[in-house]
């Protein structure tokens, strides 16, 4: 009898069972994707806005500066209003940073103290404009100059962070839940005993379950990458991003191991479910799935090293977000495989065929 045939049809049965489980589909696939859309959408456009200035009547000083220095338009947006009442109201409501009017040689700046940073920026900017005009009016060349050089910006864009880390969370909950629930349900419902009485090798049964989890994880990876690469979110896959695939495999094996450990230990489905929650949620928070650990306090960063999810997130971030080489994921893959081996071993020690 063909073990391969048993394996295939078991895997098919389990995959069908998963696909028809609306709850599992929602929580392992759709729910994390919703987070990606929301987080990617909210934090993706967090570029600082331009300084909004309202002219009351004509202000030749400003118009001259804008005509003279095209770069100024990158930081300043100017709209002209005929009356001062409407212009001032815009400032009061916070829609504009300042309202300016030119009275002969004086530039009058109306600002609101509600936003100190904004007020400071606009006063500094307009001060510089006035200084520059003064200097030019003197006809002398300036004594001091400033030369500026732009550096490459290598801070992570929001989508580069959220795609791998929310995917990590999705994989962790799918893996741990999948394994623990399957094991407890099969034991309490007598399925394990039934399978034990079939001639199919037990390794085939568990192998099929692992294969289904890996297939589901690949679907999750594909969907995440597809959504993140939409123009709205703008993730670009460059360099060694494909290393995410072996990383995901190692991560799923580690989470299945943890799930099996919970499933082998827990007596009831309810226990397995709550323990899984207790493991996955803190791991997602402290393993850096919802916010970058780089900004986290030291104790949190130290604590994060106990969570396997941290290694998965870090490895995926390295190859997908930071654009590092393929080797940058290897240490983490090693840790994840180690977790898988250790948890699977302990789970096999705790394993019981039947509930009584």
């Amino acid at each position: 009898m063909s073990t391969w045939q048993s394996f295939r049809s078991l895997a098919r049965a389990m995959f069908l069972g998963f696909r028809r489980d609306r709850g599992a589909l929602f929580f392992t696939v759709l729910f994390p994707l919703m987070f990606l859309v929301v987080f990617g959408g909210v934090f993706g456009h967090q570029t600082s806005s331009k300084v909004d200035i309202v002219e009351i009547g004509a202000a030749p000083l400003i118009d001259g500066a804008l005509a003279h220095d095209a770069d100024l338009r990158k930081t300043m947006k100017v709209t002209r209003y005929a009356t001062s009442a409407a212009a001032l109201r815009k400032v009061e409501k916070g829609d504009a940073s300042a309202a300016v009017e030119q009275r002969d040689g004086t530039l009058v700046v109306h600002y609101s103290a509600a936003d100190q940073v904004k007020a400071g920026t606009v006063r500094g900017l307009l001060g510089a404009v006035v200084q520059a005009a003064n200097q030019e009016a003197s006809g002398k060349p300036p004594t001091y100059r400033m030369s500026d050089v732009q550096v490459e910006d290598d801070s992570l864009k929001a989508i580069q962070f959220f795609t791998p880390s929310l995917l990590g969370w999705a994989l962790a909950s799918a893996g741990v839940f999948g394994a623990s629930q399957t094991l407890v349900t099969w034991r309490t419902k007598g399925m394990l005993r039934r399978l034990r009485l079939s001639p199919a090798p037990i390794a085939t049964v568990f192998g099929a379950r692992v294969a289904v989890s890996l297939a589901v994880a690949m679907v999750q990876l594909g969907l995440f990458l597809a959504v993140a690469q939409l123009p709205v979110f703008g993730l670009k896959l460059v360099g060694a991003w494909w290393m995410a695939i072996p990383t995901v495999v190692a991560g799923v094996l580690a989470f299945l191991g943890i799930g099996m450990l919970i499933g082998a230990w827990a007596k009831t489905q309810e226990t397995a479910q709550s323990v899984t929650q207790l493991v996955v949620l803190p791991m997602a928070f402290l393993g850096g799935s919802f916010f970058p650990l780089d900004d986290a306090p030291v104790w949190m960063r130290t604590l994060s090293y106990v969570f396997p999810l941290r290694y998965l997130n870090e490895a995926m971030l390295n190859v997908m977000g930071r654009g590092l080489g393929p080797g940058s994921a290897l240490p983490q893959i090693g840790v994840l495989l180690g977790v898988a081996v250790v948890t699977a071993f302990i789970a096999s020690r705790l394993f019981r065929w039947d509930a009584s």
């Binding site: 045939q5 389990m14 069908l16 069972g17 349900t185 419902k189 079939s198 001639p199 199919a200 039947d354």
Partner: protein
């Protein structure tokens, strides 16, 4: 000829509880063998030892000439086991369920439809197992146990928790399986089920087999009186007691019941008095055997 099952001196204890306490029996090829007893009698534990799910503390067992413990991949394809109705793959249809079990035994998936037909579930082929009624789930579970055409079938309380109609339907299915030449071992706590289906029963209580034999032989061996009842009021109670062959008589307002060891004499006497309105004659049942063996009323 070698026995299909040979169990000898099986013992299994859990802490202080002797779940199985010295059980020996043999089952012949083609036999329909029942293990009968109340809940907690040790039937299931005995069955699990024979199936190879548990190791006996003491005693030996061979199934089709092979030891079932430890897990014996040579034996497993030759036996079929129905454990519980809920032991299914989740969210699969009845047909998919059978196809998956078939593939575990290396049986072609097309066998599934023939099995559905055999247990009368053809109309439910596309239904998910969660939607099946208790009786349908039991029949599917039995079909899953038979999909690889085993020589020996174990059924653990197949009709528990079924309504009377569903039980009778299932009995028909079980009889057909047995007629096909298979050996069947069934546990049940229903006396009538054992009486109606089994060639031979072992009555178990407290981990021991109290008596074993064909149901009719066990009942006859009791020398228990027959009960003849007629409609209440067709005959005065004292006249009934005085009938030839009557041991005892009672009238509960609905029926007048005469206990006798000579039923033909009593029936003849009642006929002579034209007092056979609503007549019923009941012999002893396995329940009486259990009562006789244990001294207590049978509670399933």
């Amino acid at each position: 000829m070698a026995h299909t099952i040979n169990a000898d001196g099986l013992r299994k204890r859990y802490g202080d509880v002797r779940a199985v306490d010295g059980v020996s029996f043999a089952v012949e090829e083609g036999e329909f063998f029942g293990i009968l007893g109340p809940n907690g009698a040790g039937k299931t534990t005995a069955l699990e030892i024979i199936e190879g799910l548990r190791e006996a503390d003491e005693g030996t067992v061979t199934v089709l000439g092979l030891p079932p413990w430890p897990r014996n991949p040579k034996l497993l394809p030759r036996i079929g086991v129905q454990l519980q109705a809920s032991a299914f793959f989740e969210r699969l249809t009845a047909r998919e369920q059978l196809q998956t079990f078939a593939s575990l035994y290396g049986v072609p998936a097309r066998k599934a439809d023939a099995m559905l037909e055999a247990v009368g579930l053809t109309g439910k082929a596309g239904e998910r197992v969660e939607k099946l009624s208790g009786g349908q789930a039991q029949r599917l579970s039995i079909a899953c146990a038979l999909v690889h055409d085993p020589e020996l079938v174990f059924l653990d309380e197949p009709t528990a928790a079924l309504d009377p109609q569903a039980r009778r339907n299932l009995w028909d299915v079980l009889r057909q399986i047995n007629t096909a030449g298979r050996t069947i071992v069934l546990t049940t706590h229903y006396m009538d089920e054992a009486e109606s289906l089994c060639d031979r029963v072992a009555i178990m209580d407290g981990g021991k087999i109290l008596r074993m034999g064909p149901p009719a032989t066990l009942v006859r061996g009791l020398d228990a009186p027959a009960r003849i009842s007629v409609a209440s009021g067709v005959l005065p109670l004292d006249d009934a007691r005085a009938l030839p062959g009557a041991d005892e008589a009672a009238d509960d307002g609905v029926s007048l019941t005469v206990e006798t060891r000579d039923p033909s004499a009593v029936v003849a006497a009642l006929a002579a008095r034209d007092a056979l309105t609503g007549v019923q004659i009941r012999g002893a049942t396995l329940e009486d055997v259990f009562l006789d063996l244990t001294g207590r009323e049978y509670r399933a």
